[in-house]
């Protein structure tokens, strides 16, 4: 395989990954310190810019049990532009079964976005980060 073909193949793969991340609009990550599995699902499908929308955040512990009554704060921004989110989203409702409704999210630029989650459960503070390519 020539260098050019490898480069084209890698570019293609990167595009497919970026698009699938944006369209699937479901992202998963682990907390630091470990102990929580976090899944975030956009309620806007496909995920597009300039539209206010909600996400459902699901928390499970290492045994796969739902984690309720967590205090979750979501911030974030675009690392390449040194700016934060366009809005100030917040958890407005606990949906039960370890699920939380995050309202007030709008991405106003295409590109790489990071969402930072601060999760307080009793005396422990967990952190997590997800990336979205829009």
């Amino acid at each position: 395989m020539t260098a050019n073909r490898i480069r084209d193949w890698l570019t293609g793969l990167a595009l497919v990954l970026a698009v699938s991340t944006a369209q699937a609009a479901t992202v998963q990550t682990q907390s630091t310190p470990s102990g929580l599995q976090i899944e975030m699902q956009s309620q806007l499908q496909p995920l597009t810019i300039n539209q206010m929308h909600d996400w459902v955040i699901s928390l499970t512990d290492t045994q796969g049990q739902a984690v309720n009554n967590a205090d979750i704060t979501v911030t974030g921004g675009m690392p390449t532009h040194d700016h934060g989110l366009a809005t100030t989203p917040r958890i407005t409702q606990q949906l039960g079964d370890g699920q939380y409704l995050l309202q007030g999210v709008r991405f106003h630029m295409p590109g790489l976005w990071q969402l930072e989650l601060l999760i307080q459960i009793e005396e422990t503070t967990y952190r997590a980060q997800v990336e979205l390519n829009l």
């Binding site: 595009l15 810019i49 300039n50 040194d82 366009a86 100030t88 630029m109 590109g111």
Partner: protein, 425 residues
């Protein structure tokens, strides 16, 4: 060969190489990539969704309200000197702007007049987003001493004393209260006016003040219904995108020149313009600090950090008692971002019909589009807050191509002629 001639030769060759590097165009691709094509199509006017609902304005799409608003928009009696109407600065013959550095009503203001075509698509109004609806925005200039310089009491009196206005108003909003009792309703009164107007306002009964503010709010709603008719029409760029549906070749369409096509490629790529100037109106209608210097002798504007504070405390906002929206519908206001993060951030302007809206930026600081492009290429450090834009490594020819592309965004408004002229009385 003498050493001196050799040196001249090397210098000449270097200069020629530099000039070639600056001015030789990169050939256009034969086809857009899938990603480029998706970005290009996302900018086309054909992708513009229907007008968003304005839940705060129950008459937003009422035809009578639009006709009433049309009359009000051109009425100079809505001013302290009977010479200023909305159309004084938002001139239909000049793309609903005025060609001035800053707007001049009764006297000069500090802000560049924004064009109105497609304004109804925005979530926020004014450069700093101090208003959260088109109807609420329409009220502020009326009571600004430098714009119309009138008061809500005088506006209410004008509606009440002009038969055709009274009829339209009562059909739309219900019976007008009797305003004849000058003890209850002074001739000039407002919570925002000069000292005398403010004093007169304070002396009014709370329920009378509410009646007058309600009439005033409704006038804003009629003006908004009219402005919802003002929409941008297709430009050369939109014709190009339409042609792309029949041929995938980059250069098959004659709608745009080769320089403009090269500019489009830069716009969606290397120049990163599409980051903020996205969607069919070429704006995300959001707020960014791009280190635009304040006008000479003027302190830098606080921008969105101040704008959101004002919007939240505005009695005419989405959650206020004059809004027709349920508080649960006011999600933009509820989840908006302000604070220190937004210092110096101004609203992204649409790039459609830039030919009409020079000079540019919130205080008209930059005279030409060439200079605007230079501003973004340099991306200097911001005086307040921080510049979100990063320097662009654009060659001279690329800056010229980008400038050429912006000309492909000029087009006639898609608005019926009747709305573009002063109405007959």
């Amino acid at each position: 060969m003498p050493r001196k001639s050799k040196l001249v030769g090397v210098l000449l060759l270097s200069a020629l190489t530099y000039l070639a590097w600056q001015w030789v165009p990169v050939p256009l691709p034969s086809h857009w990539s899938d990603e480029q094509r998706a970005l290009i199509e996302s900018l086309a006017l054909s992708q513009l969704p229907p007008l968003p609902d304005d839940t705060g304005n129950a008459v937003a799409d009422d035809p009578l309200a639009a006709r009433f608003g049309h009359q009000l928009f051109f009425d100079t009696r809505l001013s302290a000197n009977n010479e200023v109407s909305c159309a004084t600065c938002h001139m239909p013959t000049a793309g609903f702007t005025d060609g001035r550095r800053v707007a001049v009503g009764i006297s000069a203001t500090e802000r560049n007049t924004m064009p109105l075509a497609g304004a109804a698509y925005s979530r926020w109004y004014f450069w700093d987003g101090r208003k959260d609806s088109l109807w609420s925005q329409a009220l502020a200039p009326l009571e600004d001493a430098r714009e119309h310089g009138t008061t809500r009491m005088e506006v209410a009196r004008l509606i009440s004393s002009t038969d055709s206005y009274r009829d339209s108003y009562e059909q739309l909003f219900g019976e007008l209260p009797a305003l004849e009792d000058s003890d209850r309703f002074p001739s000039r009164a407002s919570p925002l006016g000069d000292e005398q107007s403010k004093l007169a306002w304070q002396r009014m009964d709370e329920s009378d003040r509410h009646e007058v503010s309600l009439i005033f709010a409704n006038i804003g709603k009629a003006l908004a219904a009219y402005q919802r008719k003002l929409l941008p029409g297709p430009a050369a760029f939109d014709h190009y995108v339409a042609d792309l549906q029949h041929s995938s070749s980059v250069t098959d369409s004659s709608a745009m020149s080769r320089a403009q096509l090269a500019g489009l490629k830069l716009f969606i790529g290397k120049a990163q313009c599409i980051n903020c100037h996205n969607g069919p109106l070429f704006t995300n209608n959001d707020f960014h600090n791009t280190a635009v210097l304040s006008a000479p002798g003027v302190l830098p504007a606080a921008g969105r950090s101040e704008g959101l504070r004002l919007a939240r405390s505005d009695p005419f906002n989405c959650t206020g008692k004059f809004s027709d929206a349920d508080a649960s519908e006011c999600i933009e206001l509820e989840f908006a971002r302000g604070g220190d993060d937004m210092i110096g951030a101004q609203r992204t302007a649409s790039l459609r019909n830039l030919a009409d809206s020079a000079p540019y930026m919130h205080a008209g600081q930059i005279a030409t589009l060439e200079e605007v492009i230079d501003h973004y290429v340099a991306a200097d450090i911001a005086v307040i807050g921080h510049n979100e834009a990063k320097p662009l490594n654009l060659r001279a020819i690329e800056k010229r191509q980008l400038r050429a592309f912006l000309d492909a965004l000029n087009g006639d408004l898609a608005t019926d002629e009747q709305w573009l002229n002063a109405p007959s009385r």
